[in-house]
Symmetry: C2
Subunit: 85 residues, 2 copies
């Protein structure tokens, strides 16, 4: 494995799991008033399109990391919208 590949994998793992602390905080506190739903709507569209891009290019690392991101950001979006009046 090259140095570039190690950096790329580490970068992909970090950007994919970044939303997890926000999901855990939201579930624990049940408070999401300060969280922008638009951020997660745009993120879901963005990583969803990255997944489509990966499918079109048959690039598995892009499909897997963005597919997981899509699921995690959708969970957070569901929590944010579910807690709005």
């Amino acid at each position: 494995m090259t140095f570039e590949e190690i950096i790329g994998i580490l970068a992909g793992v970090l950007t994919t799991v970044a939303v997890l602390p926000q999901i855990i905080k939201a579930i624990k506190t049940r408070e999401v008033e300060d969280v922008s739903p638009y951020m997660f709507i745009i993120l879901c569209c963005g990583v969803g399109l990255w997944t489509v891009y990966g499918i079109l290019k048959e690039d598995w690392p892009i499909i897997v990391t963005n597919g997981i991101s899509f699921v995690l950001n959708s969970i957070m979006l569901y929590i944010v919208i579910g807690n709005k009046d």
Copy 2:
């Protein structure tokens, strides 16, 4: 421009600008209690490493999109940490 390229550019733009509504909301309301600082710490590390990856591979689209993401997420992290007691 191919269909794949259009999808890729659209995906890159969306994931790059997604944090903007959260920054605007935080500046307007001055409330960030429900926002996880860890999400933005991990995001900054992740997109920072993607920028390094782009530099190593001499891939300008990766450098530009993740460089902008790094700046925007750093601004949000600064707002979140600056508002903590």
